[in-house]
């Protein structure tokens, strides 16, 4: 980017190629003929693009001075101007098409939710402005819809089938869940779903199973994925320490199906081994059975998954005590002495310790603090209620993981630590701040709905109008921000009005600005789409100016019909009158042959201009003038073709009538009298009879007199006085006088 590091120095962008570079910077070469000294222009392009233009001296005298000013720019002869497009802001790794797809799919859910909210508030009778007690369920539906659009649901690495079949590895790698979805779901658990409170530990187990992979680069997910690859080549996995570590880890965070299927891969299950390793196999199977009977405090488990679900707390607590005692009994069993395989012995013992909630073993089996927290909730305190102490545990987990020396700087290794901690501890300010820091405006605009679903505190925090934000709330600020992002792209600008319409303070103003900024003159289709938005949001004034802009554009480029049509939509009588004048000008100038053709084409236009616009003098006049000219034309035509005097006289009479209509007071602007009077001369020279009667000729003569008086006074508006030469006036007067004579005789 050319940076202005001094008053007079201009440093060109390092890579002056005309194609998009790897960093997305585009350099265009432009030819221009802007006179004067070289100039630098800076302007905003679409989105977060900044256009920096450098126009070297244009025209003929370029060269020398240019080189003096800036030798590096001056030696480029190809073009004398350059435009550099710089994309500002951090680079986004998600493809723009995907982002747009997300924007398209979330807009409907958002609009639906807002309408539901409006209906609810109206139903409640308004002034309290608080959400009703079951509002969170509506938000939960919204949240799940949005979560669905963020991508499909994922389980832990290789659920049971993957470990036995090793089939869907590729599928997994190509599609990992997104961190946005992870955070979204976590916010949903803590801020929206009231039902989650009763089985929170299990909700977190499920959450971790889905999103462990995105938490950091070194989680259990990676560990197990590596193990999965290794197991393919191992015949006796029990000899490998990693096998037992993997099982312990999976057990710690509650991925029981993986634990069970890994245990069943134990070498002692193989046919040729079973005789020698009878006791060993018995122990492995007992542990596997115990694990698959583990009681879980949750409404249900997926079909075929190990574990037993208990929804009712006392029942669960009874089952858990019983199961725990079985585990303890097995731990103290005498069979362990008969187990000859040392690794198996040690590994199984460790599993039992995990099940018995040994803090030390849980710490060893997990790598991320969130995993430790989940393990803690699952094996040490399965009864814990939400909020109570959860934040404290979480901080302790972070600290104990931090002490292991794995995280040198917690922020670089785990950018989401602060955010997740804040969600767990219901610290809304930090949640908002961290989300703003990490995520794009899309998430901010939508997550507001989740945060305010049931928390009264968050509602006050986010809906309070703040003086330092210009009187808008944080909620509105984030919507405005997202709407701006949408508005900056040619394909998504139509979504912005949906969000702006729910911004009570500044939405409407920004919507008007957005609509007026659309390049409506580039295509009628775009203009009509803008007008559709105007119609939906009742923006009559904007619609009028859009119509006018397009109309004037068409008119200026010679598309007269289109111009009139659009100006009529704008109901812009003043410009229509100007258009009518211009049309007339084109008709009355000169009497060339093409005029007839023009007249025919204009016929449609005058039809369009219509008779209902009587308020505009010009149009009424043009309408009648059209009648007169067609009359005159058809008269001349029939004189050539059909010399029936009767019909001819009729037509002549008709034309004369039209002419007199035109010359009535207040119909025709004075500057058009002269061409009309010239046409009258033609009528007066009718060979067969005098078409104009005595009275009529007097009218014409008096108009002529008014013209010459006006000339004498010098207040001829819009007429070139050379046209009104004495000679031409005399000629008309003479013709009319002759006609007067003929009329006298005829009468």
């Amino acid at each position: 980017m050319p940076n202005l590091s001094g008053a007079r120095e201009l440093v060109p962008y390092a890579k002056p190629s005309s194609s998009a570079g790897e960093d997305g910077v585009v350099v265009h070469t432009v030819h221009h003929s802007v006179a004067g000294s070289p100039r630098v222009l800076v302007s905003w392009g679409p989105g977060n693009t900044l256009c920096v233009s450098y126009l070297a001296q244009g025209g003929g005298g370029e060269g020398d001075q240019d080189v003096v000013m800036n030798p590096r720019f001056g030696d480029e002869n190809a073009g004398n101007g350059k435009v550099v497009e710089v994309k500002l802001g951090k680079k986004d790794d998600r493809p723009p098409a995907e982002k747009r797809a997300l924007a398209y799919s979330s807009v409907q859910a958002f609009a639906f939710l807002q309408n539901q909210k409006l209906m609810m508030l109206q139903h409640d009778g308004g002034p309290s402005r608080t959400v009703t007690s079951d509002w969170w369920q509506t938000v939960l539906d919204f949240s799940q819809t949005i979560s669905g659009t963020l991508g499909p649901s994922f389980g832990p690495p290789g659920s049971a089938t993957d470990f036995s079949g090793f089939s869907s590895k590729e599928v997994q790698e190509s599609s990992t869940p997104k961190i946005e979805k992870a955070i979204w779901d976590l916010v949903e658990i803590f801020y929206v779903d009231k039902n989650a409170a009763s089985w929170l530990p299990e909700r977190l187990v499920d959450w971790l199973a889905s999103y462990d992979v995105v938490l950091s680069s070194a989680t259990l997910y990676t560990k197990l994925t590596k193990l999965q690859q290794k197991l393919i080549i191992l015949r006796f996995p029990e000899d490998d320490q990693e096998y037992w570590d993997g099982i312990a880890s999976a057990l710690a965070v509650g991925w029981l199906d993986i634990v069970v299927s890994l245990l069943r891969m134990h070498g002692s299950y193989q046919h040729d081994q079973i005789d020698n390793r009878n006791v060993e196999n018995g122990l492995v199977e007992t542990v596997a059975v115990l694990i698959s009977k583990m009681p879980r405090l949750r409404p249900s488990l997926p079909a075929g998954a190990p574990g037993q679900a208990f929804n009712f707390k006392p029942e669960f607590s009874k089952a858990w005590e019983k199961w725990r005692s079985q585990v303890a009994k097995l731990d103290g069993s005498t069979y362990w002495g008969e187990c000859n395989h040392r690794e198996t012995l040690r590994g199984l013992k460790k599993l039992l310790k995990v099940l018995l909630g040994s803090i030390e073993d849980l710490l060893m089996a997990t790598s991320h603090w969130m995993e430790l927290l989940v393990a803690h909730l699952l094996h040490v305190q399965p009864f814990s209620k939400v909020s109570e102490g959860l934040a404290g545990y979480a901080v302790k987990c972070v600290e104990s993981k931090g002490d292991t020396g794995m995280n040198e700087s917690s922020l670089t290794n785990d950018p989401f630590q602060e955010l997740i901690l804040a969600i767990l501890s219901d610290d809304t300010e930090v949640v908002v701040a961290e989300c703003t820091r990490i995520f794009d405006p899309w998430l901010m605009a939508h997550v507001m709905e989740l945060l305010t679903a049931k928390s009264k505190y968050a509602q006050t925090l986010l809906k309070e109008e703040r003086y330092n934000l210009g009187g808008i709330s944080l909620e509105e600020l984030n919507r405005l921000f997202y709407a701006q992002v949408l508005a900056s792209h040619q394909l998504t600008w139509q979504l912005a009005p949906v969000y702006l319409s729910f911004c009570p303070r500044q939405g409407l103003g920004m919507l008007e600005a957005l609509l007026l900024r659309q390049p409506v003159t580039t295509s009628d289709r775009l203009a009509l789409k803008v007008l559709e938005v105007c119609r939906l949001y009742d923006l009559g004034a904007v619609a009028t100016s859009v119509n006018r802009i397009v109309g004037v554009h068409h008119w200026k480029h010679g598309r007269k019909g289109a111009g009139i049509a659009w100006l009529q939509r704008a109901k812009d009588d003043r410009r229509l009158a100007a258009v009518a004048d211009e049309l007339l000008e084109s008709v009355s100038l000169g009497m060339s042959g093409s005029q007839i053709e023009t007249l025919q084409q204009l016929e449609g236009l005058v039809d369009l201009l219509g008779s209902e616009l009587h308020s505009t003098q010009g149009l009424t006049f043009l309408h009648r003038y059209r009648d007169f000219k067609t009359g005159l034309h058809s008269m001349k035509e029939s004189r050539k073709q059909d010399p029936d005097p009767q019909k001819l006289a009729e037509k002549g009479r008709h034309a004369a009538d039209s002419l007199l209509q035109l010359l009535k007071p207040q119909v025709t602007p004075q500057r058009f009298w002269l061409p009309l009077l010239r046409d009258a001369v033609e009528l007066s020279e009718w060979p067969e009879q005098a078409l104009l009667g005595v009275h009529e000729t007097h009218v014409l003569l008096s108009r002529l007199q008014e013209l010459s008086l006006a000339k004498a006074r010098g207040d001829l508006e819009g007429i070139d006085s050379r046209d009104l030469s004495r000679q031409s006036l005399e000629r008309i007067r003479l013709a009319l006088a002759r006609n007067l004579g003929r009329a006298f005789l005829q009468e």
């Binding site: 098409a97 007269k560 019909g561 025919q600 449609g604």
Partner: protein, 342 residues
């Protein structure tokens, strides 16, 4: 009835059925790179529960500029895909019907129109094209193996702007646009339009604009148009001074207000034209799509919605064989696929 959205990740400028089973021509524009492509894709419909149809790209060709209108047709040996572009040129791709690949460059005629050409139509068998534009020109273009040969039939120098055209017979066609009514042309009589409807209709704000026109395949004197304010009109050549409002504001009895936004496309429903045409005075069913996202069928004054979308439906096409399958170009970078029970 089944309705499926098939995301493309690119803006769909136009979509048309080709005279082959489940095959469409798509004109796409990638908003990120600015590249336009023409694609021949096959619609795969698994006909299974829970599985959505998808498009399989069969062939593609990079276009020089964005497409403003596309029509398809065929003769004995070839399928023709005709496109008008933003730069005012007309391109005709001749594709082997047995082996539909886009492997040879199209026939091109540059600078047919000054401003964006608005519409075109291509005839079956002769492959003659008619293009109209907002610059007020009407061009007749003959497509042959040797190339395209254009004739300017009429030029009003932009006094009137055209935005829709449809062939009625090998020599006659109907045009419509801004500031004009519906005009009936005969290429054997080059002086001007043979017949013309009134330029205005009741209920339109100021002057209504027409975006699409379709002529009845067997009753040539009858055509329907779609335009601003949710308007669908019928015009009968035998009663030139009347416009019959089928949908939209200001219609007398027998019309309905189904959509309020612009009607981008209309078509006399080919699926219901087969046997019982009923009395000749009745206007047959008309399909329409609109800016406010409605795809509907209007029959004897009653409109039935086939699909309601959150975004604009910019155009649609009905399959040539049975007329039961409809593809639409959606504003949100997708194709809408509607399958009616046959």
């Amino acid at each position: 009835m089944e309705v499926h959205r098939i995301p493309q990740g690119q803006y769909v400028d136009a979509v048309r059925w080709l005279p082959m089973p489940s095959t469409v021509a798509l004109s796409l524009c990638d908003a990120d790179t600015g590249l336009s492509t023409l694609e021949i894709s096959v619609l795969q419909d698994p006909d299974q529960e829970g599985q959505a149809p998808w498009m399989e790209t069969h062939a593609s060709w990079e276009l020089n500029s964005r497409t403003t209108a596309m029509k398809t047709s065929s003769n004995q040996s070839n399928i023709a895909i005709a496109l008008t572009s933003e730069t005012g040129s007309l391109s005709v791709f001749l594709v082997d019907a047995m082996n539909p690949f886009l492997d040879s460059p199209p026939l091109v005629l540059e600078r047919l129109h000054k401003f964006l050409p608005s519409a075109l139509d291509i005839q079956k068998d002769t492959l003659q094209c008619v293009t109209v534009g907002s610059d007020g020109k009407i061009n007749l273009v003959h497509a042959g193996q040797s190339g395209l040969h254009g004739d300017c039939l009429h030029d009003n120098h932009g006094v009137l702007s055209y935005s829709a055209v449809c062939w009625a017979s090998p020599t006659e066609f109907v045009s419509a646009g801004q500031g004009t009514g519906i005009q009936w042309w005969d290429s054997r009589r080059p002086g001007g339009a043979v017949a013309q409807s009134p330029a205005k209709w009741a209920g339109a704000d100021g002057v209504g604009m027409i975006h699409a026109v379709d002529v009845h395949p067997s009753r040539k004197h009858l055509c329907v148009v779609g335009g601003s304010g949710g308007t669908v009109l019928a015009w009968d050549l035998r009663r030139q001074n009347e416009l019959f409002t089928l949908a939209g504001k200001g219609g007398k009895g027998g019309s309905s207000t189904i959509a309020e936004g612009e009607v981008w496309n209309v078509k006399l429903d080919p699926a219901l034209q087969g046997g019982g045409q009923g009395e000749s005075g009745k206007i047959p069913p008309v399909l329409m799509c609109s800016e406010d996202g409605i795809l509907a069928i209007i029959e004897s004054g009653v409109a039935t919605e086939l699909a309601v979308e959150v975004c604009a439906i910019n155009s649609f096409d009905v399959d040539l064989e049975l007329g039961t399958e409809i593809v639409c170009a959606l504003e949100h970078e997708s194709v809408l696929y509607v399958k009616r029970p046959s």
